[in-house]
Amino acid sequence: MINKILAIAKQNAKEGLYYRFDLLLYIFNFIIEITVYVFIWLAIYNKGNQILGMTFEQVTTYYILVVSLNPIISWGINETMGNAIREGEILRELLNPISYFNYYFGIRIGELIESIIVGIITFIICALLFGVLLPSSLLNFIFFIIVISLSVVVVYFFELIIGTSAFYTNSIWGVEVFKRAILSIFSGMIAPISLFPEFLQKIANTLPFKDCIYTPISIYFGELNNIEIIQVILKQFIWILILYIIAKILFNKAVKSVTVNGG
């Protein structure tokens, strides 16, 4: 099964890399985004050396990591899946000799390969431009990678749920905006979660999205001890299970109830 998923991933990555110019544009776009963040925070830091316990260097590193991780976490298959459902391509996909979830997981991994390339290049260029802090230790760096990998699985099932809504709505644009909003607020993409008011922090702590961006960056900085990290990983496994079950139920229900029209 893993062989098949990897074969699909490779195929999808090949197709994605065919549009190299697109990827270059993304990188360019991300670098500009980071520059804007850096200058905003530079203006803020002019008045004092530390804000809420973070140095300017930390904040710069935070945003460089956020933007580099962004494609890995927030691209995803919901749009591809939504379009396939709307245009009836799903009929073909349901005839594959491999389950729909496995097939799309392959597609997701293929996309991941592209987004990792974009992320790493963005990170390296921005590190050279603005300077970054290195990970606090090798072990923390390994944990950083593990937590992000699990996050990809978490968001994959979330994307499946979003994509399934295409069965019921004509365009998944609205649902997708909702997904992006949720992700960017609760993952810490817009601002570090430690800056949030308390009630929002509580919500962010329960949802799995914090562990996609904010938590791995905290681990990168060495702000979590090993026990806390293990707790995070356990929480991720629980969310994977919950989202998998929800996605499975919704998708099966949708496939069953939606009668495909045609003579």
Partner: protein
């Protein structure tokens, strides 16, 4: 044992009924009203291994609905489908491994990649043994003339080239049953012939069961041995193609080349089985029922009006027969 067993199959669609205007729309939101429409109404048939079956009917007759139920993409409202011992909509993935399908213009090829990459992925997904893959690729490349296409990106292929590749992709894993839903739509004659030959060849070699729906009856004439004709959700004919033609094809079309016509042939003088399709100064085309009239009768009655120079006789094709059936002229004959 039959490879496909269909028993009392029924499919009803629920169609939402909306009233016009915004008010009607809002009303529908709270009190949705549905109308039931029967797409397939209690059909049964068995198909043996290796049969080439043409599944025909008008648009909206229930063809695609049946195919979708056979492939497991639609759940039947009632009745039973068994394909090679598997109930498709219950064990879809297992069923997918043993079937192949072409749905009109929907493609399983990867748009931006060379064709051969899609074939390689199919090999992995279906776990096709190296030997089989190599043999099939070689054979298909030859019959479908794919040699120059395999390294081209799918998006750069013409419709006919794409369909040839699609057909090859569908048969690559030696499926036991193949469903072809309008495979020749929009293709030119040469490509159509190419595809027909391919289907016949593979059927002969692998005993692949093929179910073909099409509006091009030439496909059926050349490929299929058996016809299942569906109309308004029910099967109105199921049997051999030749028997079908003999049963319904009672008409002969005769074209006469004439000269010195003295007057138009009037309808009053001719019997009812005698129909003039076309008439002008130099030729006349006549359709008649060969059970009631002979060609001699026709020649006799026409020669009263003109001099006959030459004539061609043509049996009614599948197309004409179906036209009459669709118009309701032949039902329950």
């Amino acid at each position: 044992m039959a490879i496909i067993e269909v028993k009392n199959l029924v499919k009803k669609y629920k169609i939402s009924e909306k009233e016009n205007g915004i008010l009607g729309y809002i009303k529908h939101l709270f009190h949705p009203k549905y109308k039931e429409q029967i797409a397939v109404n209690n059909i049964s048939f068995n198909i043996e291994k290796g049969e080439l079956v043409g599944y025909i009917g008008e648009n909206g007759a229930g063809k695609s609905t049946t195919i979708k139920m056979l492939t497991g993409l639609l759940t039947p409202t009632s009745g039973q489908v068994v394909v090679n011992g598997i109930v498709p909509n219950e064990k879809r993935i297992l069923n997918n491994k043993q079937i192949g399908a072409v749905f009109g213009q929907k493609t399983q090829l990867w748009w931006d990649l060379p064709v051969i990459e899609s074939f390689k992925l199919i090999k992995k997904m279906y776990e096709i043994p190296d030997e089989d893959y190599k043999n099939n690729l070689k054979k298909f490349t030859k019959i479908l003339d794919l040699k120059d296409l395999l390294d081209k990106q799918v998006k750069n292929l013409s419709l006919g080239q794409k369909m040839r590749c699609e057909i090859a992709a569908t048969f690559l894993h030696n499926p036991k049953v193949v469903y072809l839903d309008e495979p020749t739509i929009g293709l030119d004659i040469l490509v159509k012939e190419n595809i027909r030959k391919f289907i016949k060849d593979i059927n002969k070699e692998q005993h692949t069961t093929v179910i073909l729906t099409t509006h091009d009856l030439k496909d059926i004439e050349e490929v299929c041995d058996r016809i299942i004709l569906i109309d308004k959700g029910t099967i109105i004919y199921d049997g051999e193609k030749e028997v079908f033609k003999n049963k319904y094809g009672k008409h002969i079309i005769a074209e006469f080349i004439i000269q010195n016509k003295n007057s138009n042939i009037t309808v009053e003088t001719i019997e009812e089985e005698f129909e003039i399709i076309e008439e002008n100064e130099t030729s006349i085309k006549i359709k008649f029922n060969h059970e009631r009239l002979t060609i001699i009768d026709i020649v006799k009655s026409i020669s009263k009006y003109c001099e006959i120079l030459d004539m061609h006789i043509q049996e009614e094709g599948l197309e004409e027969i179906l036209k009459e059936i669709y118009r309701g002229e032949l039902i329950n004959d």
